[in-house]
């Protein structure tokens, strides 16, 4: 299916410097609505910095970001979130001293005004999707690390975003939880545009429509999973010259 419409999210030559270090270097990027796009690359490639700029957590040093046809480069993060971007952190970030229910409530309640029923339904439905519905009243801080990551994903999907950004969501999950996660992402894809930073190549191959490879702050390659698997430059970046 050819997608001729404007991209759902796009970056136009965005860069980010930290002092002398160039973490992201003039990246162009475009994802059509409903696509699941994996972003891969070695440690320190600039993946987190890159998506951080898309969601507004990290200001750009240069370049322009368009979301849903609008220039959002200067928009503060909380406004981008309210326009339909949800973001989960690479290092789990939840409210450890609040219940799971209250965690999700904070994520979703602003969407619903005073409709307490809708809020409650969304909380239950979102926790259900990650398999934590029966722990609604527990303190989030008492959950295992893997469950805390799932809670954060539930918070993300409870916002019913148009664009969901997940930074290494499967890190620390058990194999069975990863399988559940892959299934969930496939269900969500199509409705939502999803950007998925992921080190687990099985997860990438099982979910992504397209893959963007970052290396040293630049886009090394973009293509289908099959393209990327066959790409020699990618093999070098990942495995080193000798194995290529």
């Amino acid at each position: 299916m050819a997608v001729m419409t404007t991209p759902h999210i796009s970056a136009d030559g965005i860069s980010r410097h930290f002092g002398g270090l160039i973490a992201v270097d003039q990246v162009d990027f475009a994802v059509p609505r409903g696509e699941i796009r994996a972003i891969i690359g070695p440690n320190g490639a600039g993946k987190s910095t890159f998506v951080g700029m898309l969601c507004g957590r990290i200001p750009v040093s240069a370049g322009r970001i368009m979301f849903d046809g609008k220039d959002v480069t200067a928009l503060p993060a909380h406004k981008r979130i309210r326009q339909g971007i949800a973001y989960t952190f690479q290092i789990t970030s939840i409210y450890g001293r609040l219940s799971l229910q209250d965690n999700v409530r904070l994520a979703t309640s602003w969407r619903w005004g005073n409709d307490e029923r809708a809020i409650q339904n969304t909380i239950e439905e979102s926790l259900e999707k990650v398999g934590l519905a029966d722990r609604m009243d527990q303190m989030a801080g008492d959950l295992s690390y893997g469950h805390q990551r799932l809670l954060e994903i539930a918070m993300g999907i409870s916002q019913h975003p148009q664009l969901l950004i997940l930074d290494e969501p499967t890190q620390g999950l058990a194999d069975s939880e990863i399988a559940g996660f892959v299934k969930l992402i496939r269900e969500l894809g199509g409705d939502m545009t999803i950007l998925l930073i992921e080190h687990n190549m099985n997860v990438v191959m099982d979910t992504a429509d397209q893959i963007t490879v970052l290396n040293l702050g630049k886009v090394l390659a973009t293509g289908t999973p099959a393209d990327i698997r066959a790409n020699r430059e990618v093999q070098i970046a990942y495995l080193g010259e000798t194995h290529a």
Binding site: I81, L106, W110
Partner: protein, 320 residues
């Protein structure tokens, strides 16, 4: 241990605090004159501490400059009464206005910083406020302060220098501040304040304007402190620069820590506790601050969540 969603918990907590207000009302018929007078003063100071608690206990911002908000209310009340001959009613409005303006201005500037810098900046502003009061000694009479005459302290027909009226005025103010705090904590705005305290970055990335919420918290906190300052001037007939000094910025922090930060009742319990700790120890030694300090150290070591905080943790988890 943290505020929960259920209606029933909110209601239980409300009844508990209404019960306490009832008990304070009845106490006035039982207490001997000395303690009756003390309690009126403690209730007013507890309002100051409750204001402080909104910012420190619920939003997680540690200010070292709240004396300037207390003083804004105190002088916003006292100066127009003494120099312009205003009655307490319009003077109360000018005191509240002073609280809003000062806290909005200082909050706007101080919130450009965070953490330790926020503490330092609020401390500096308060020090500047203190020096300003001394500088305009012609009107404020500086450290010495000025007295508001008994005849002028009549509000809605009640002579507020009379112990009974004074006690009940303090109780009304105390009830308003306490119920406002509980209302705030259970409101959506209050939940976002708590969310900021618990995890600021997450809160921002869930779609909340963290900076705006913090600013509003400073304004609510500062205005409640100013209201307490105004009531203090009116009920006890005195305004002086001591109340704008660093010491009076530290007091509400200690009261709130002692009683329990982020609990509605903690500020009152902390104020009460410290008042009598100093009162009792000063009756048999001149080194009473040493005793007070020691008690503080012991309490923070063994009851890190404060008296009410520990009580809530162990006995009544539904308390606001």
């Amino acid at each position: 241990m943290i505020e929960k969603a259920g209606m029933t918990d909110a209601r239980k907590s409300l009844y508990f605090h209404l019960g306490l207000i009832g008990a304070l009302f009845i106490l006035q018929f039982i207490l001997p004159a000395y303690h009756h007078g003390n309690l009126a003063r403690i209730m007013v100071l507890a309002c100051y501490a409750m204001g402080y608690n909104i910012l420190f206990g619920y939003t997680g911002l540690l200010s070292l400059g709240h004396a300037m908000f207390f003083a804004a209310g105190m002088y916003g009340m006292g100066l127009p009464m003494v120099h312009l001959g205003w009655t307490p009613e319009p003077a109360l409005i000018s005191a509240i206005a002073a609280g809003v303006v000062v806290s909005a201005g200082i909050g706007f500037l101080a919130l450009r910083t965070s953490g330790v810098s926020f503490m330092i900046v609020t401390l500096m502003f308060a020090q500047a406020g203190f020096l300003t009061i001394l500088y305009f000694g012609e009107w404020t009479r500086g450290d010495e302060g000025f007295v508001i005459k008994q005849a002028e302290r009549v509000m809605a027909g009640f002579d507020l220098s009379q112990p009974v009226n004074r006690y009940n005025a303090a109780l009304i103010l105390f009830s308003i501040c306490l119920l406002l705090t509980i209302r705030l904590v259970h409101s959506r705005f209050g939940r976002v304040m708590i969310a900021i305290r618990e995890n600021e970055e997450r809160t921002h990335m869930l779609g909340y304007d963290v900076h705006f919420h913090k600013w509003m918290a400073v304004i609510m906190s500062g205005t409640m402190a100013a209201l307490a300052g105004a009531a203090y001037a009116l009920l006890f007939g005195y305004a002086g620069a001591t109340f704008a000094s660093v010491q009076y910025s530290i007091f509400p922090l200690l009261w709130v820590l002692l009683g329990g930060a982020g609990t509605a009742l903690g500020p009152f319990v902390g104020t009460l506790f410290m008042f009598y700790l100093i009162d009792l120890s000063s009756s048999f030694t001149t080194a009473y601050m040493l005793i007070a300090g020691l008690a503080l150290v012991l309490l923070t070591l063994f009851l890190p969540q404060g008296l009410v905080g520990e009580f809530r943790r162990k006995v009544v988890p539904w308390l606001s």
